[in-house]
Amino acid sequence: MSDHLLEIEDLVLDVVSRSDSGQAGPAQPSAVGEHGLDASSWKVLCDLGLVSLALPESLGGSGGGLREAAAVVRAGALLPMPLADAAMLAAPLLAAGSLPWPGGVVTATIAGVELDVRVEGEHLCLSGPLRRVPWLRDSDHVVVSVAGEAGTGGLVAVLASPASDDLEQGRNLAGEPRDTWHLEAVRATAWAPAPDLGPDEVRRLAGLARASQIAGAASAVLSRTLDYTRERIQFGRPLAALQAVQQRTALVAGEVTRARVVTDAAAAALDAEDSRAALLCAVAACEASSSVREVAAAGHQLHGAMGWTTEYPLGRATTRLWSWRDEYGDETAWAQVVAETVAAGPDVWTVITGSDEPEQEGRAT
């Protein structure tokens, strides 16, 4: 990991350590209960320019890239706020439409086919449902990606969030808000076509956003587990002295490292407009989602019953991991994208290495 990414992570970790709600926070009433958004941390992160890194300065962003945004999302993964949705989905969507950062708390979503969108003069008018929008009840704006016809570029719309009464409140396993909004002829506060951004590209951004969150939360599980097993004495020794504990912790570390490396690689490839970016995003989403099972299971197993209570903050990380791995596609769905990429390429090794064969000759062995 290069130095400037580590600096960014340190900035975020500093915010996390000073918040009541972040990684090192106190007991929460129930992991599946309600959580308020941490407005003060959101403001600090915005003031530091860390939320809108993937948006050019000319549009009110701070002009970094997705790689920097992913570093922010990993470090701030457990902060109760739509950080990933804003930094890794809203910002690039706005960039694609050359729209300015709307300010306040920003979330993002991908519209389903049920959403009806029509242009009325200068205005864009939306009707229909936006389902399970992250943190919608606590947001000021939601950036919506609307697919175009037949896989062409669609458009990006910014909506002012509705009053809470107009929402159907929902949640995920971690109690994070996932609210459904049934729009009735709502006008976008801003909108623009995004010709370069097809539905696959948008989904890839969303998948990478969740993958980056997973990488961060998985890393938090590893840290907690290391702390716990080093402090906890059983049978006269720290748990961490037990070989079975060491073996399993090492496996978790492997999963965590893989998730971090591959989300970083995918974000970097997107920034570089690399030809492998699409594949690396699918790999990042697949690998991050598939790391969750072992990371969360091992975290709970090594913590014992303690980790299953809401008094201990392990569950704050694991319940998020269990939700995020399914959002915008689980590991099976993303693996299928990889399989399709293989099928579309000349041969598997060429696809893996991202190289083109000099000539298209069949390989027989």
């Binding site: 929902g170 949640r171 079975a244 969360a296 299953w308 939700s323």
Partner: protein
């Protein structure tokens, strides 16, 4: 092991009878199927109803209010209760380990006082074993019982005590003598609840429940008659009970309601099989584990020592329970919503509860030590 296969007529009849009853109860709204109902589903009314039908304390002798039935019959009933996802936690522990323990170690007076209520499904037993600093290391417990006024005074703190907030009784393991060997000097007590000097504080868990409790024994006085079995023999008694606790069908069928819901959804949606249908390996595994579990049940019935085999069943079985959850999750294309009804909600519940499966009743790593030490 007896020839495995389809059940003989009487067992099958019993199975179908219980199944019909549970199906009728479910249709009548008496319960909503849940995973982990034997630990998380406390419903005293439902337990009483089962007791009224003779489905609790089945192997307890008739003279103590039981039904004198076989272990095989009891096993069939337990399976149907588990697979239906019924709320049976209010009587499960009493039926599973307290009835045999009291039969084995209890005085005649204790048997007469406690067994009829257990068989009626009316006694909810909490097991006060773990302590804040003990974890899996039970020999290091610090709760003390000292003789006083013709009885005992208990002082200490227990944790992970399931159901204590609604329990009628607790079984408390306490140190009655200091000893060089850490396993000596422990004794078991049956304590009536509520008790003015026993304070129960719920522990909230990430599945949104509070099945567990912290129990503070604040110099609680109990009569001499509360001592179960021999003073100082608590360790041996606990160890014997653990084999019962580990060998039952609840160590592999906890998530069976999820498999059934998935199966039902597949039939409704006519999901095509595909060449590598994910349900195949899952069903194969559960059938195999069931045969293993039934083999252990027979060892118990025959009076053998099932400690190693029981540990093996629980290790494999609980890993399967978790594996099943993951297989269903990957087969079902949905975000997990804890508020949803049906399959998605059941799946959310299962994901949140699964971590406990391989911790309770002895963490699986501990079970593996027991297994490997018992090999050959």
């Amino acid at each position: 092991m007896a020839a495995a296969g389809a059940e003989e007529g009487s067992l099958r009849e019993l199975r179908l009878e219980v199944r019909s009853f549970l199906e009728a109860q479910r249709r009548a709204g008496a319960f909503v199927p849940a995973v982990d109902g034997w630990q998380s589903g406390i419903d005293p009314e439902f337990s009483r109803a089962l007791g009224g039908r003779g489905l609790v304390g089945m192997t307890v002798p008739v003279e103590y209010g039981g039904h004198g039935r076989t272990q095989a019959e009891r096993y069939v009933v337990l399976e149907e209760l588990l697979a239906s996802g019924a709320p049976v936690a209010a009587h499960w522990v009493a039926d599973r380990q307290m009835a045999p323990a009291i039969l084995k170690h209890g005085t005649p007076a204790q048997r007469e006082r406690l067994l009829p209520g257990i068989a009626a499904g009316e006694r909810l037993f909490a097991i006060g074993m773990s302590e804040p600093d003990a974890g899996s290391d039970l020999a290091s417990i610090r709760t003390r019982a000292r003789r006083e006024g013709g009885g005992w005074r208990l002082r200490g703190t227990k944790v992970w005590t399931s159901g204590a907030h609604r329990a009628t009784n607790a079984l408390v393991l306490a140190r009655t003598a200091d000893s060089e060997t850490r396993h000596a000097g422990l004794s078991q007590f049956v304590v009536d609840l509520p008790h003015p000097d026993i304070h129960v504080k719920p522990l909230h868990t990430i599945d949104g429940g509070s099945h567990f409790n912290e129990v503070v024994l604040d110099d609680a006085w109990i009569p001499e008659a509360a001592l179960l079995g021999q003073e100082g023999a608590g360790w041996a008694q606990v160890t014997a009970e653990l084999a019962y606790e580990r060998s039952g069908p609840e160590r592999l069928l906890t998530t069976m309601p999820l498999l059934r819901a998935w199966d039902a959804a597949r039939r409704r949606e006519a999901t095509s099989l595909g060449p590598r249908d994910a349900i195949g390996p899952v069903v194969s595994r559960v059938i195999a584990l069931r045969e293993m579990s039934r083999a252990v049940a027979e060892v118990i019935q025959d009076g053998g020592d099932p400690a190693v085999a029981a540990a093996m069943v629980k290790d494999s079985g609980t890993l399967f329970e978790q594996h099943l959850v993951d297989e269903v999750r990957r087969a079902v294309d949905a975000e997990l919503d804890p508020d949803a009804a049906g399959l998605t909600g059941l799946l959310a519940q299962a994901v949140l509860r699964a971590p406990a499966f391989t911790l309770r009743g002895g963490a699986n790593e501990v079970l593996r030590s027991i297994i490997v030490k018992g090999l050959r």
